[in-house]
């Protein structure tokens, strides 16, 4: 288990870059948990900067669009399950299919569907401290 503390939005983005460079697998599932406003999308900004440097625009929240793709070919899928409440809805997203495409699948609000995730994955938990401070815990399952 790894623990990090960040003191600003910029540091959280930098941590996303570092995790994407040194900790996350080339492809597989990263589950990102943390409440509203914890900084999940901020961390993904860093992940995309490292894994899809050709994407020069702003990484924004996929809450409405559900899935954002980054890189050409796609190297990062950024998924947000905030709006989904039923497994039937989840089924329409076709996440298994995305998993087969050799990219990193970063999922926000995975805790809404705790039973469906593969055992081999990385769990990242972000917690809010005072002000812009965040603590980030990274837990790797088995050998990836």
């Amino acid at each position: 288990m790894l623990r990090f503390e960040t003191a600003s939005e910029a540091e959280t983005i930098a941590l996303g870059e570092k995790l994407a460079r040194q900790v996350f697998p080339a492809h597989g599932v990263v589950l990102l948990t943390g409440g509203l406003g914890a900084g999940k999308t901020t961390l993904v900004k860093g992940i995309v900067r490292e894994r899809a440097p050709s994407f020069r625009e702003e990484v924004s929240s996929p809450t409405y669009t559900l899935i954002h793709e980054y890189g050409d070919p796609v190297t990062v899928y950024h998924v947000d399950l905030y709006r989904l409440d039923h497994e039937r809805e989840l089924a329409t997203l076709g996440l298994e299919e995305l998993l087969d495409r050799g990219a990193l699948l970063v999922v926000e609000w995975p805790e809404k569907f705790p039973r469906i995730w593969p055992v081999r994955r990385v769990d990242v938990r972000i917690e809010r401290g005072p002000g812009d401070q965040r603590s980030v815990t990274v837990l790797e399952s088995q050998a990836l």
């Binding site: 409440g35 702003e58 924004s60 929240s61 809450t63 409440d85 039923h86 809805e89 997203l93």
Partner: protein
């Protein structure tokens, strides 16, 4: 000339027939809000499968209501992006098949260009002339963008949200407080009952493009406000209200929302409206706008409309009617007319583009 428009970029399956970029012959929208209202807070019609189910009847209805057949059309226009690829694909594939079968030209339209054309269509219908350059603010659940429109069809991105879209911030704050989806309209109806200066949000200053928006800091500030208080009982009362009454009236909401929460809602809405208008005003000044267009679902917000009317833009500010503010296919057909004139047709290789940008 008549164009059939098809829109499937997000949750709505929509089709419409528009004549000469000004007359709406039909406007059909199959929305999750009416179909799945009983889920409250959920938007189940999310992906391609749901669009697939709706696309054929929706297009058929649009043609029937317009009293025309495919043979009466000059072209078929479809949203090519931005949006969810699986959803976009349904509309694109269906539009291609229609065009292939009936030898019609196919026109790809950017969803955000559509939102701008919703306003241009209504102005044309009223015989009002729109002076260019136009500053367009497109704000919805999925987008918050500022565009400079030098002349019809020429767009330049001036600013956009760096995190959450404005509509998304509304809906997330509403959900946090126990209001059902979509929460934006509820906050808008309750805001006049609270003090917009009742809660002070201190937001971090942003570096970079001064025309970019940010709403996630505000969202986090609301989360902190809620955490510092014991609102569990209050929130549960509101959730219980929705279980018994899926569409509570304003009085019902007021009965279960104390003054302190009303103040929070009013202050939150005021902060979002200020953020939108402050950047829009700065952008209008930078580009010397002759007209300001505010479109997208958030353009329905009464607080925003009122504040925009008294903001010092120094030029007309145009909003679409509520029906054309939210996602629809009229705007897609409307945006296709200039392209039809220029014979700017799409090939069979037209593909869904999740991150399609305008400009």
């Amino acid at each position: 000339m008549r164009i059939l428009g098809i829109e499937t970029s997000c949750d709505e399956t929509a089709a419409a027939v528009v004549e000469d970029a000004r007359a709406i012959l039909s406007n059909v929208v199959a929305s999750q809000m009416t179909t799945h209202g009983k889920y409250g807070g959920v938007v189940p019609e999310l992906a391609s499968r749901e669009h697939l189910r709706a696309i054929v009847p929706v297009v058929r209805d649009a043609l029937e209501q317009a009293g025309c057949s495919l043979a009466d059309l000059s072209a078929v226009a479809v949203t090519e992006g931005p949006g969810l690829v699986g959803s976009l694909l349904v509309g694109i594939t269906y539009a291609k098949s229609l065009c292939f079968a009936k030898s019609l030209p196919l026109i790809g339209v950017n969803h955000m260009e559509g939102h701008i054309h919703a306003v241009l269509l209504e102005a044309a219908a009223d015989g009002r002339q729109v002076l260019f350059p136009v500053l367009a603010l497109v704000a919805s659940g999925g987008h918050t963008h500022l565009f400079e429109v030098r002349e019809p069809g020429q767009y330049r991105l001036l600013g956009r949200t760096r995190d959450d879209a404005a509509g998304e911030a509304f809906d997330k704050v509403a959900k946090l407080l126990g209001f059902p989806y979509p929460g934006g309209p509820i906050i808008d109806r309750l805001a006049p009952h609270g003090d917009p200066h009742g809660v002070r949000f201190t937001l971090a200053k942003m570096k970079g493009n001064p025309l970019d928006f940010s709403f996630s800091g505000l969202k986090t500030a609301v989360v902190r406000w809620v955490e510092q208080r014991d609102l569990a009982a209050e929130i549960e009362t509101r959730r219980a209200l929705v279980r018994h009454n899926p569409a509570p009236a304003r009085e019902d909401w007021l009965a279960v929302t104390p003054k302190s929460t009303l103040d929070l809602l009013a202050s939150f809405q005021q902060t979002v409206v200020d953020e939108l208008l402050r950047r829009a005003l700065a952008a209008a000044e930078v580009m010397d706008a002759e007209t300001v267009i505010i479109s997208g679902g958030v353009a329905c917000n009464a607080g925003l409309r009122k504040a925009a009317a008294s903001a010092r833009f120094g030029c007309p500010v145009l909003f679409p009617t509520p029906a054309l503010s939210t996602d629809n296919a009229v705007m897609i057909a409307a945006a296709a007319f200039p392209k039809l004139e220029r014979k700017q047709f799409a090939g069979w290789d037209l593909r869904a583009r999740a991150h399609l940008t305008l400009a």
